[in-house]
Amino acid sequence: MPAAAVVAAHQLGLTFPTADGDVVALSDVNLTIDKGEFVSFIGPSGCGKTTFLRTIADLERPTSGTLTVNGQTPEQARRSRAYGYVFQAPALYPWRTIEKNVALPLEIMGYGREQQAERIRRTLELVNLTGFEKRYPWQLSGGMQQRASIARALAFDADLLLMDEPFGALDEIVRDHLNSELLKLWDRTQKTICFVTHSIPEAVYLSTKIVVMSPRPGRVTDVIVSDLPRERPLDIRETPEFLAIAARVREGLRAGHSYEEAV
């Protein structure tokens, strides 16, 4: 394993015990993510995408196998503030205004007053929430809340970004915009990004690597390495190379899906 492996999972497994039996959320997951990669996770609802991200973030403890983050244990990585996390739900604190919510990680990590103000301004502008600084979360629409939570994760400089369906509640145009902003950011800063999405075009457009997962038990069924250039104008999405990759992802997704049989 090269020194550059940011995430390395080996035979990773995770089981939740519940009142009516165990749920195998992850089983035998083997995956290496190198520095600077943009990895998308795609798979049916309930297949373990969130669980995998949470395990990387040291929010869940694997029940088998090994996992290292930056060559360390997930806990060490978390303690060194190696990553920023965008949860699937916005998880804004209701007693803080939007700007205070974005300020939260900055306060915790000890940024100075002015730096805080500057970063809040910049990230809120990035997600197009300028003007909503003083609002409370319940005064925002669903998509705006989600954008605020993205701003919160981007406000500080983590080398690894874990994003769980960050753009799920956004319209196509904002989504396109944020997609290209995210790509620019990634290109500029050489961050490593793990990105959960349900949109195949989004996954293909953004990623250097696409991980297809399937449920019950959650496992990785396909890893597709994209050979699209790093420079990606939006209209790359109509090129045959793009469509070919998209087709392969769709294929993998369909194969791992329980639906076709079930319904």
């Binding site: 060194s80 503030r81 998880a91 604190y93 939260l104 915790i108 409370y136």
Partner: protein, 289 residues
């Protein structure tokens, strides 16, 4: 207006009930008195007035209580030992001191409990057991014991108030400090926030509704504690002492007057906590339900 009207309505209903009850409860004694004085066939209106004007009634009529309060506060010099304002102030200061101690202790214990497993498991059952100790039984011993080490006056009373009022605060705050959702805590974990940050930025704000609910109960209990403590320490005065001496002398009107002052104090205190709650809510952007 729409705040005053409901209160007035309920108040009038209570007053009417009260006057009726006063007739009913004071009637036996009035009958005895009238029999002794050879009064027969007293008209009902007159009889009612008699029952509302007894010296030591079972249930004093509202106006008797109010005039006693009036006489014992406004009409007396504030420094007089007969002034209910004077005694009320004594009780109030013990209440406030005890409440401040109690809230601080309660919060402190809750903080320890949620951060330390061993403390949680070992302290909680004993905190609960501590509250089952009948305080009035212990209060005199506390007063005697503290007196032996030279602590007299306000402090022993405040300690007993504290003893009663810290409990609702611990129970409520343990619950409140544990109320953040898993995902809210996870967020803090991702920042590797230290325990103090998790506390000050997440647990504490999330516990606010619980804190205020507990403090409202706590301050009322704190007043009860101060009054109870005064029963063990007849020197120094206070509303509790007035209640006690009133009861020794069968001065029901005096008891009720002291009781009402105490209740009034508590109502004001609870309202103050409620006011603080509203201010905090506004600053925390709580959505009006």
């Amino acid at each position: 207006m729409n705040r005053v009207l409901p209160v007035l309505t309920i108040l009038l209903a209570i007053l009417a009930l009260w006057y009726a009850a006063a007739i009913w409860m004071n009637a036996p004694w009035q009958n005895q008195l009238n029999a002794r004085a050879n009064l027969e066939n007293v008209a009902f209106t007159e009889f009612a007035q008699q029952t509302w004007a007894q010296d030591k009634p079972v249930l004093p009529a509202p106006h008797q209580v109010i005039s006693e309060i009036w006489n014992a506060t406004v009409m007396l010099d504030i420094g007089s030992k007969r002034s209910l304002a004077y005694h009320g102030w004594i009780t109030l200061s013990a209440t406030l001191l005890g409440f401040a101690f109690g809230t601080a202790l309660g919060v402190l214990l809750a903080v320890i409990i949620i951060h330390n497993d061993a403390a949680d498991r070992s302290l909680m059952p004993w905190i609960i057991a501590s509250q089952t100790i009948p305080i009035l039984a212990v209060a005199p011993m506390v007063v005697v014991g503290l007196g032996a080490v030279g602590m007299t006056g306000l402090v022993p009373k405040a300690l007993i108030s504290m003893y009663l009022s810290f409990f609702p605060v611990v129970v409520g705050m343990v619950k409140g400090l544990r109320s953040p959702e898993g995902i809210q805590l996870d967020l803090m974990r991702t920042y590797d926030a230290n325990p103090w940050q998790v506390f000050s930025k997440l647990r504490w704000p999330a516990a606010m509704p619980f804190l205020f609910a507990s403090m409202k109960v706590g301050i009322a209990i704190s007043l009860i504690g101060a009054v109870v403590a005064e029963l063990s320490n007849a020197s120094g005065g206070g509303l509790g002492v007035r209640l006690l001496t009133g009861s020794y002398n069968g001065q029901t009107i005096q008891i009720w007057a002291a009781l009402f002052i105490a209740a009034g104090l508590a109502a004001v205190l609870v309202a103050l906590v409620g006011g603080a709650e509203r201010v905090v809510n506004r600053r925390m952007g709580v959505r009006a339900a």
